[in-house]
Symmetry: C2
Subunit: 152 residues, 2 copies
DNA sequence: CAAGATTGAGGTTTCAATCTTT
DNA sequence: AAAGATTGAAACCTCAATCTTG
């Protein structure tokens, strides 16, 4: 077993555990999965709280199909709204509703607290979390903005 | 957005991209998914190349149900064999066949090469990969299912 | 009853095909 | 024809229920 492959296996394991914890916490408190949260957050950080569905797919690393299917439940419970584009009838936007914005705010708070539990304990020095984020950015590359500080 | 939550999102992104690359490479070369590979590798590292299905589930972070369903295709193509326990009729082992051992060897080679591509380039110093592995181990623990009193 | 394992139903995501609009 | 989006079929995994054995 090479150290490279070993690191990849650890990456898989760490992510699986983390997602389970977010799913539990967000589901219990706000009725959202981690994937739901990622989607709402992406919308929340877009100008006007709305994005074309194809852009949403690229930002989330999903297929267009996956986005259509993920939006369904969120539209049904009124957190996201479908909006047509008056300029181009092929385009459909996904837009946060007021309820969606509010739910996102609360979920973001809960997610931040959980993340602080996972990474903000005494085991973690601040510089270590920044290093970890930098490594992960190198690995995951596209989709998220560059980290503030590069790891030592 | 706190740096803790930011790191969690980057972890999700990096893992998703990595798994896609392993799925592509292993699928194209050896007809295995990354999940298949993890399962075969776990068996390969067990004494006698065999494990009880319940232990396999714990080692992989899956449910017993998930293991049953994952083993099905691997048994059908002859990489894994079902073995009863003469001492306890409730227990069924999953055991690597000779074909499974050989397939695992080849897949491990391909996986190691891909991992080296991802983490062995000039961008990565050896110490950085070791640091990353250490951080991920801190996050993901040993691989046992989530403890009862755990946060979240 | 408890433990190991499987099955039925359901959620999530992908691929390939399709539909509409440009 | 190309772009945006959706749908049908399928793969993968979970939960709850069930079956068998201890």
């Amino acid at each position: 077993m090479t150290p490279y492959l070993d690191a990849c296996l650890r990456l898989a394991r760490a992510q699986a555990l983390m997602v389970k914890r977010f799913d539990n916490q967000l589901g219990r408190l706000h009725g959202l999965s981690f994937a739901d949260f990622l989607l709402l957050q992406q919308l929340g950080s877009a100008p006007g709280g709305r994005m074309r569905r194809v852009d949403l797919a690229a930002a989330l690393g999903l297929t267009a199909s996956g986005v259509t299917r993920s939006l369904g439940p969120l539209e049904r419970i009124g957190l996201v709204e479908r909006e047509p584009d008056p300029r181009d009838a092929r385009v459909a936007y996904a837009a946060l509703t007021d309820a969606g914005r509010e739910r996102l705010q609360h979920a973001e708070k809960a997610a931040g607290q959980l993340a602080a539990t996972l990474l903000g304990g005494e085991e973690w020095a601040a510089g270590e979390v920044a290093s970890l984020a930098g490594y992960l950015t190198r690995l995951g590359g596209t989709g998220l903005p560059e980290a503030a500080g590069d790891p030592a």
